[in-house]
Symmetry: C2
Subunit: 211 residues, 2 copies
């Protein structure tokens, strides 16, 4: 386990061909680390899977740790992009939450290796793992504050809510998209949305139970 | 990483002295694995910390993996015991949730090593990690179903809610009890309870916002 950050990633490849090679190495590393775990995954297997010479690895990455860090960033970028697309048509924040929860479960189902790599990164590089969650939470918090100011959600503690919401999707995702690889996701997503929208407390008479 | 379960744990020590030695080894392993991580933690350091001969380790445990499994079980037992005590005086389910959230945050703050050991176990023995969460969820689900039948919570999907509730405390715990080692916990616990009780959706006019 290393807490040390090296001088930063190597410079980005100058050619399209170089960038393609770098992505091939990352794809192979995602499969290999996701399937076998960080400590069992070897650079030799990653380069063999990527069909490049072992020395080529070091043109793009200093170490296996640096590949892991890049995969965590990749997960963040892809997930944000996926959620942005999925919630683009939402008319308000609650509708965005509903669409976002469903889209998150699908993303985890479709990217179990990335999910695992992010989880394992906390034991390889705690700082990058923490940054992953803190960046997500920061964006979430801003969105919640804006929604509150527009009256789209009830007033509340945006920071706690941001982490709570990440916890809901993280754990429901674990249960329904990782442990259960094949079951339908719609009912779980809808129930998770109901939880997020209304909580579990008894509801006042006459209040619409579901939106 | 090993998915193989050995024949099961060694038989429990027959004497009180033996049981004390076994617990000393587990205490040292909790500190050592919690601080340095599973792969860097060594049996030599664990036995030195426990002030027992290295060979003594093998009277009680077959391997470092077996110690990790026992620590996950220890975390489950201690957390359940802690939550049972903390919620014993609750008059209904929502009050139990409120007390339970506060108690969980305190437990994580007081036991960062156990929290880390459980998280890391998913990469050492995925089955024990999954069992840890599934057992908690099963107990949670039963409690929610009973509370629903008594009218103490709104009707809903008990299985999804169980995992969502674990996610809330897990992630709020990470933010306020692990990343933030010293800050006050009461406000975060209260905000998490508000989230669990009411969600974030806009609240109908005339409905009490907080219980």
């Amino acid at each position: 386990m290393s807490n040390l950050h090296p001088a930063g990633p190597l410079p980005a490849p100058k050619t399209q061909r170089g960038e393609r090679t770098r992505q091939k190495i990352l794809d192979a590393a995602e499969r290999e680390i996701g399937a076998r775990g960080f400590s069992d995954a070897s650079i030799a297997t990653i380069t063999a899977e990527a069909a490049v010479a072992q020395g080529t690895f070091y043109l793009y990455f200093r170490s296996k740790e640096e590949v892991l860090r890049e995969l965590v960033l990749r997960m963040g970028r892809r997930l944000r992009h996926h959620l942005t697309l999925a919630t683009a048509g939402a008319g308000d924040r609650m509708q965005a939450e509903r669409l976002g929860i469903r889209a998150f479960l699908q993303f985890v189902r479709d990217n179990p290796n990335l999910y695992r790599v992010v989880a394992e990164s906390q034991f390889v590089d705690p700082a990058i793992h923490r940054a992953y969650y803190e960046e997500f939470a920061a964006g979430y918090r801003v969105g919640l504050e804006e929604a509150e100011s527009r009256g789209e959600i009830a007033p509340g503690h945006a920071e706690v809510r941001a982490w709570a919401l990440m916890g809901v999707t993280d754990m429901v995702g674990r249960r329904y998209a990782i442990y259960d690889r094949d079951g339908p996701l719609d009912a779980a997503a809808e129930a998770a949305y109901d939880f997020v929208a209304h909580g579990i407390g008894p509801r006042a008479a006459g209040r619409g139970a579901k939106t």
